[in-house]
Amino acid sequence: AQSVAQPEDQVNVAEGNPLTVKCTYSVSGNPYLFWYVQYPNRGLQFLLKYITGDNLVKGSYGFEAEFNKSQTSFHLKKPSALVSDSALYFCAVRSGNTGKLIFGQGTTLQVKP
């Protein structure tokens, strides 16, 4: 069965420090991986995706993610965190040929000034 795991419920970082939000996946076949961000009382906003090609994917708002096939991971990263990055982050993997997404449980990122 296809699945996504986000092992950390919450990540705390200081503003200006690098951040990493972890994601591991389990799929049959080639993975199509996504990161979304959710601000309070808002819908999900797309950050970036990996379909194929370079293992380092660049996305919106300075975020990037590194695809590692051997470790089945797709960690979200940013070199310098902003207080405004504080939000709930979801990793997701596409399941099958119908576009269905399997989501991780989400990781709350707290960036403190």
Partner: protein
């Protein structure tokens, strides 16, 4: 473009009542999806549609129904509301299955 819109934003239902959650997209997307979000559980797929007239069940379809008579609209129907359906509901759409899904702002539903 307005993108994906959902109405209402918030609703309180009594047990046994019914309601329809509306979802409309103006991006001419073929694929549409309904998810529910529960705290600490991520999002779970309820139903999806690959085009007008075609719908199929997701992970958690029980207690819900959908229809897709037009490309733009994908309403979600709750027939007999139960407390377990208290959740935040998100509609999403994409052009094709490999494309990025774009989400609406959500409907918060409370069943008492």
């Amino acid at each position: 473009n307005a993108g994906v819109t959902q109405t209402p934003k918030f609703r309180i239902l009594k047990i046994g009542q019914s309601m329809t959650l509306q979802c409309t997209q103006d991006m001419n997307h073929n694929y549409m999806y309904w998810y529910r979000q529960d705290p600490g559980m991520g999002l779970k797929l309820i139903y999806y549609s690959v085009g007008a007239g075609i719908t199929d069940k997701g992970e958690v379809p029980n207690g819900y129904n959908v229809s897709r008579s037009t490309t733009e609209d994908f309403p979600l129907r709750l027939e007999l509301a139960a407390p377990s359906q208290t959740s935040v509901y998100f509609c999403a759409s994409s052009y094709y299955e490999r494309e990025t899904q774009y989400f609406g702002p959500g409907t918060r539903l409370l069943v008492l």
